[in-house]
């Protein structure tokens, strides 16, 4: 680990000035990702600016937006993942978010991890974390070891496969961000030039021709809060995550979904639906093709699977003798269908639902 100076300025503006003015400075929050990266030698800031006490650790009610009866929530950047998951309004009005948080990491890590840090955690691609292997995200132009390598946790949508010096098939590992994608969350940012709001859907970026950048955030910009707009549909929402072991593991595939079902002449109909996928792309993947395929149509298992197929039509799985990821295409279909079935009706009456 490289030596560094530790700083705790008086306020958020002071923290922004410090980091914006020094290309080798970085913000520190819970440290669960950054401290690991300092140890691995894949991050080597010379100054760490601790922002845990400089951004809010409160969850506040927002006033109703024009025309709405209810207001949303403002989540301070320093709110710990465990406190966000335990918040009464989050559990009742945005269950998809509480469930996503609770399926991430472990109890100890959730007590440390912050809302801001969670959005900015970096990929868990094994090669990114291993300085002895080529990786375009860590070392531009060196190549992508995951293509043809161990790509079980990697992307099937929106990745860059060529040219070799720009390729990156990494996924974003956050569960929280996938839930926030269906909630149309807004990221509040303070930068050297003042404040701006970035819709969560535009916050993370595809690798394109520059896999080193995970988000559109500029160096020195501080996340101060995440706003959740009021979303009546979210009271009927859920998060379903598939992983290699039952707990304390990253997603192979995950689905965040909110759905409103009404009775139609021939059975239940999807009045409205929002879907985002995790574990499939460099960003939380808002599944607009699947949403469009479902809206106004029957709420049946067949329709759910057809919607998943519409979303993954352009998928490009990685073939590899040591661990490809073609299995993710059918896994998205099964996971999406299972998530929507639980929202379509009481899951306890569904013989295809396994208990627990």
């Amino acid at each position: 680990m490289k030596p560094f100076t530790y700083a705790r300025p008086d306020d958020a503006a002071g923290a922004v000035d410090l980091v914006a003015g020094d290309p080798d400075a970085a913000f520190l929050a819970g440290g669960t990702n950054l401290v690991d990266h300092l140890k691995l030698g894949i991050a080597s800031p010379t100054t760490l600016v601790d922002v845990t006490s400089l951004t809010s650790d409160r969850i506040d009610d927002l006033p109703p937006a024009h025309g709405d009866t209810d207001g949303g929530l403002r989540i301070g950047a320093a709110v710990r993942n465990s406190d966000l998951a335990a918040h009464g309004r989050v559990r009742a009005e945005y269950p998809v978010l509480a469930e996503a948080l609770l399926q991430g990491a472990s109890g100890q890590l959730r007590n440390m991890a912050t809302t801001g840090g969670n959005l900015l955690q970096r990929t868990r691609c094994a090669y990114f974390g291993d300085r002895t292997t080529p990786c375009n995200k860590r070392e531009p132009g060196s190549g992508c070891s995951a293509i043809g390598g161990w790509a079980r946790y990697h992307a099937i949508l929106g990745a860059t496969h060529e040219p070799a010096g720009q390729a990156c098939v990494a996924t974003h590992p956050s569960d929280m961000a996938v839930a926030m994608a269906v909630l149309d969350a807004q990221v509040q940012v303070l930068g050297p030039d003042g404040e701006r709001t970035i819709p969560l859907e535009e916050f993370h970026r595809l690798p394109g021709d520059d896999p080193t950048r995970d988000t559109v955030l500029r160096h020195g910009e501080l996340i101060t809060a995440v706003d959740l707009p009021a979303a009546p549909i979210a009271t009927s929402s859920t998060y379903r995550k598939v992983r290699d072991r039952a707990s304390y593991a990253f997603a192979l595939v995950s689905v965040a979904a909110a759905m409103e079902v009404v009775d139609g002449p021939d059975g239940p109909v999807v009045a409205d639906v929002r879907i985002a996928l995790g574990g499939v792309a460099h960003t939380p993947w808002r599944a607009t093709r699947a949403e469009d395929a479902l809206r106004g149509g029957p709420a049946t298992d067949e329709a759910f699977r057809a919607a998943a197929a519409a979303e993954t039509a352009g998928a490009r799985p990685i073939e590899s003798a040591v661990g490809g990821n073609a299995f993710k295409v059918p896994l998205v279909a099964g996971t999406l269908a299972a998530a929507l079935r639980t929202l379509a009706h009481d899951p306890s009456t569904d013989p295809t639902e396994e208990p627990g």
Binding site: M1, P3, F4, T5, Y6, L28, G30, G31, T32, V35, D36, L38, K39, L40, L48, D50, T52, S82, A85, A86, R91, A92, P95, A98, E99, L102, Q103, A105, S106, G107, Q108, L109, N111, M112, A246, S247, Y248, G356
Partner: protein
């Protein structure tokens, strides 16, 4: 680069000067002779370094000591007054909830923090309805303790020990 800071370890305030790169785990083990928290992976993946920080369970290996100036750190050794045992410790002994014992101090601190979280009504990933108050059964306990790996796989008895403390069978 050195920093001077104070950690209140098991009730005793101690001021020390350490390199800014020092984690709470290394500060405890290498500088303060508090060796009950163990270094398993040093990367947040095993839970053997679990301590309570201001009463909440955290991983000492991913916590920088400089970021915890003034904080109260409780290790498994400091859970009960000198010469006494905490209910969770008694339950681990009675349920034979360990084999080699390497993960045990982390398991015990984690269990103490987890029982407080459950008592405060925090849900878990296996709570059927995330909005409802949780009930601690074996499945809930296992899920809430998933951040503590046991290489000896003493899991069955660890869950039993915690179940007994929760049921009040071991005096707290």
């Amino acid at each position: 680069m050195d920093a001077t800071l104070t950690l209140v370890v098991d009730g005793r305030p101690t001021t020390l000067t350490v390199d800014t790169r020092t984690t709470v785990l290394d500060a405890l083990r290498e500088h303060l002779d508090a060796t009950s928290p163990k270094k398993g992976c040093d990367h947040g993946q095993c839970g053997s370094c679990t301590v309570l920080c201001n009463g909440r369970r955290v991983l000492a290996c991913l916590s920088l000591a400089v970021a915890h100036d003034g904080d109260e750190i409780t290790t498994a050794e400091g859970l009960a007054p000198e010469g006494e045992r905490h209910a969770v410790q008694v339950a681990f002994l009675e349920a034979d909830a360990y084999q080699c014992g390497y993960c045990t101090p982390g398991q015990i601190c984690s269990a103490v923090g987890m029982l407080d979280e459950a008592a405060a009504g925090h849900p878990s990933a296996v709570s059927g309805d995330v909005a409802a108050p949780p009930t601690l059964d074996r499945t809930e306990i296992a899920e809430r303790m998933s951040g503590n790996l046991c290489r000896c796989a003493a899991y069955v008895n660890i869950v039993t020990a915690i179940e007994r403390v929760h049921a009040g069978e071991t005096a707290r």
